[in-house]
């Protein structure tokens, strides 16, 4: 069978873009097909009036600078993708919990972070030093897991304690280190970025992320996430890859357990490999011929919960951040610092739980809006609970009411005034995400992380869970889970595997 392409990638989200960029750059004939008219999936932007809003990115971990590049910086450099990174933030986050009387801003840099934590919670620094040490070990061990041919045993040989930290929650480890509870609550502020609370999430993954933010600070593309997506689009096209927008795949062709192409309209396009940003639920449920659907693949998907979903509010303000009295980029505002309670309060309901994250991009990119204005981005989260919202008027009211509460909570916690200065407002609920991402229940987060379905477990099981040969899943539903960095890496994983297969088959497929 002669192939039309070496690789067909379904979906131009972060994972699809990164995989197509890598395969095109390495000479494979690559076709990237996207249902929408622009690339990016979550990584995009939109305009209202004189504002261009960041759609979903809170902060990219591990960017760094040209002098001190982090993993993501190097990845884009390797691909030749031209992204102008804004970095150099001096604080990681501000945590405000009015009922507990906590309002603390944590700085970037290991030494400063330690100092601030010790000041807020005397006696906490020694355990925090241990956390950073362990984070270093976990980061190295996780990198070792990405080496070709790595197994649990080979990693364990080099890092004998690693799986202990992979097998215990953040809370279990921090308790073990004797860290005071208040300090634990402060340093686990980033848990929503991984989607599970500190009693559930394993220490290894969380500590790596925390250290990444403390060491490198956050990174943001200067021209919103649309810039990253277009930089990757350019790499693909400059290397001979094709991108077809407004194009939907109706079927993934699978023969004898091997993916061999896709169907677009009535036409079949054959390829050596297929990369899917669509979730396994959708692929197995409606995109593959019934005979070829792998039973264990379906069981795996069904053994999991769909990840969390979000309601986000985008505000274009007719006052500057200084005039409003905002001086931090990431503001986490919550009714309790107990993350398990927060997750519980947001589970199985579409009622606002009182937990809101507010970002002000102007802190990092002062000229991201016209002089005398700024943009604010509010996020709250839900674990299920939106399947009973089916009345359009109720939905509209719910969106407006929730947005109002989020804004009010933020005003109260920060002692500022926001409402009178709103020039533009857009509210996106889970149905909005479902519309643009086409993910189950509109989650941008893949499958819910639990104690018995952690990122590291998924990685260990990866080889035995590729049920269809030459079909690779990328994006949030892949083993790496949610987040921009994870999605880019998932694309690189798929791209590398496809390149290795091409070499194994004796050069390129053509």
């Amino acid at each position: 069978m002669s192939a039309d392409y070496d690789v067909i990638v379904i979906g131009a989200g972060n994972g699809g873009l990164a995989s197509a960029a890598l395969t095109a750059k390495n000479g494979l004939r690559t076709l990237l097909v996207e249902k929408h008219n622009i690339p990016g999936g979550s990584a995009t932007s939109f305009r209202r009036g004189r504002f261009e809003f960041e759609t979903s990115l809170h902060e990219l971990c591990n960017v760094g600078t040209a002098e001190n590049p982090g993993g993501i910086y190097k990845l884009f450099q390797m691909l030749g993708a031209d992204v102008d990174w804004a970095t150099g933030m001096d604080e990681t986050f501000r945590l405000i919990c009015p009922p507990e009387g906590i309002d603390v801003t944590m700085p970037c840099g290991i030494e400063k972070f330690l100092g601030a934590l010790e000041k807020e919670v005397p006696g906490s620094a020694p355990s925090m030093v241990q956390v950073f040490k362990l984070a270093g070990m976990c980061t190295q061990a996780l990198a070792a897991m990405d080496e070709p041919g790595a197994t649990m045993e080979t990693v364990e040989e080099k890092f004998p304690d690693f799986f202990k930290y992979a097998g215990h929650s953040i809370t279990e480890v921090l308790d073990g280190l004797g860290m005071p509870k208040k300090a634990q609550r402060i340093i686990t502020t980033y848990w929503p970025y991984l989607g599970a609370n500190a009693d559930v999430l394993d220490f290894a993954i969380y500590s790596r992320m925390l250290a990444g933010y403390v060491i490198y600070g956050a990174g943001m593309p200067r021209y919103r996430s649309h810039e990253i997506s277009l930089a990757l689009e350019k790499v693909i096209r400059d290397n001979g890859g094709e991108i077809w927008y407004n194009t939907e795949i109706t079927e993934i062709l699978v023969k004898d357990g091997k993916a061999c192409g896709v169907k677009i309209g009535d036409r079949e396009y054959h390829a050596g490999s297929v990369v899917s940003s669509s979730y396994p639920d959708l692929v197995y449920g409606s995109m593959i011929d019934g005979e070829e659907v792998p039973e264990r693949g379906v069981k795996l998907a069904n053994s999991r919960e769909i990840g969390l979903s979000f309601l986000t509010v985008y505000l274009g303000m007719n006052k500057s951040m200084e005039e409003l009295g905002i001086d931090t980029y990431s503001n986490f505002i919550m009714p309790t610092t107990d993350s398990a309670q927060l997750q519980q309060a947001a589970t199985g309901t579409h009622d606002y739980s009182g937990y809101v994250i507010m970002n002000c991009l102007n802190k990092l990119i002062p000229d991201c809006t016209p002089e005398g204005t700024c943009q604010l981005f509010f996020t709250t989260l839900y674990y299920g609970g939106w399947d009973d919202v089916t009345d359009p008027e109720e939905y509209r009211k719910l969106k407006n009411d929730t947005a109002m509460k989020m804004i009010r909570d933020c005003e109260k916690a920060m002692g500022i005034s926001i409402l009178p200065y709103i020039e533009e407002i857009v509210i996106a609920g889970p149905p909005t995400f479902a519309r643009y991402l086409n993910t189950p229940e509109g989650t941008p987060y893949g499958y819910q992380v639990t104690k018995t379905d952690s990122f590291i477990q998924r990685q260990v099981e990866e080889k035995s869970e590729q049920f269809i040969k030459d079909l690779y899943f990328v994006g949030a539903a892949s083993k790496r889970g949610d987040g921009y960095s994870s999605a880019y890496l998932s694309g690189i994983d798929a791209g590398k595997a496809i390149l290795a297969r091409a070499r194994e088959k004796g050069g390129l497929v053509r």
């Binding site: 008219n37 932007s45 939109f46 209202r48 261009e52 799986f163 202990k164 097998g167 279990e172 480890v173 308790d175 073990g176 280190l177 593309p221 021209y223 919103r224 649309h226 277009l230 689009e233 350019k234 096209r237 094709e242 927008y245 407004n246 194009t247 639920d281 449920g285 409606s286 659907v293 039973e295 379906v298 069981k299 795996l300 998907a301 069904n302 399947d387 089916t390 008027e393 509209r396 407006n400 409402l419 709103i422 020039e423 533009e424 407002i425 857009v426 909005t432 479902a434 519309r435 086409n438 189950p440 229940e441 509109g442 104690k451 018995t452 379905d453 952690s454 477990q457 260990v460 099981e461």
Partner: protein
Amino acid sequence: MTESKSVMSDGAFREQLQERRDRIDSASSQARKSFPVNDFARRLHPVRQYMKIGKVTELEPGTKCFRFVPDPARGTDQCAPFLAGQYLDVYITINGMTVSRPYSISSSPKEAEEGFYELTIKYVDDGLVSKYVLDNWKEGDEVELSGPEGSFFYSPLRDARTVVCLAGGSGITPFLSLAQAIVDGYEDFQMILLYGSRSEDHILYKDKFDELEKASDKIKVVHVLSDEEKAGYEHGFITADLIRKYAPSSEYSVFVCGPQQMYRFVDKEIEKLGLQQKFVRHELFGEIHGPAGMEDYPGTDMPEVKITVSIRDTRKTVTGSVNDSVMQTLEKNGISVPASCRSGECGLCRSQLVSGEVYVPKAVDGRRLADLKFGGIHPCVTFPLSDLEIIVPYAK
């Protein structure tokens, strides 16, 4: 560290791994097929609505109101809900090529729930589509519409409690929808409508607005006649003084919808009011016919240009006038381009400029910043200044 060893068992990870395998073993082997949130999203935002024309009413020569009802036989069994002020794109196929035009919905959100939309379409001079629609569409015809689009609607979190609505000619349609939405309880604000028409005969929906004004003390309608002096009507144009005359002393928003000539006039008047930018909102500017009238047009010596366009795996070169937008040239050559607002705003037609020089009027340049960096263009408001090579997304 010694403490941590005491509470952490070495085998936890492997036990969890085994538990994971067991859970997979005992899971259902029937793939999940239905997701309520996604179903709801499709209901709110259908890609296409397959409708039939239920009724045609001629309001005045050259202006008709079309009622559309869902056509279950072709897969549409209800109208997607919308917010008063939004528009629909109508798709028509002329000589085998599909083009679309946006029209504000003149019926109410409640009526959409009850099963119909109405669009009021006026013949415009070089309006290929409006002419076709007015000449050809009749009761019982099958028509394709988009889902509701646009951001010209009321937000209780952003807008003032009173909105002074400025309408010109057929720009009345979104305000008719908004007024009905107020009466129906779907919107809650004070509407003061200043509606400019040439003469009393040219007022669209006069009776309907009289009724709505009676039905709600939140609605006040003032007719402004440019070519006729008559008792009970304001005479002249919608000026800053006229707005001041009817606006409340408290905070108010201004919403504007009308033809381009009206925007040019009214915007200068609004400026005199010194309102904050957040309190002034416009409906779409509309398609630009000829760039020469735009203030910042640099001009070009070439009367004609070649445009090479790639769509998926096809490639074609066509010739067009520099007075036509890239979209207009492609459509004149039988090439469909995805389009919605045709005003530079929505970005649905976003394409890649591979080579060549273009002009985009600053007033309608709705591109994202990264598009400026990487050569993204919106063909609906992009005018060629040289031969071009572009990549255009497929038109569904």
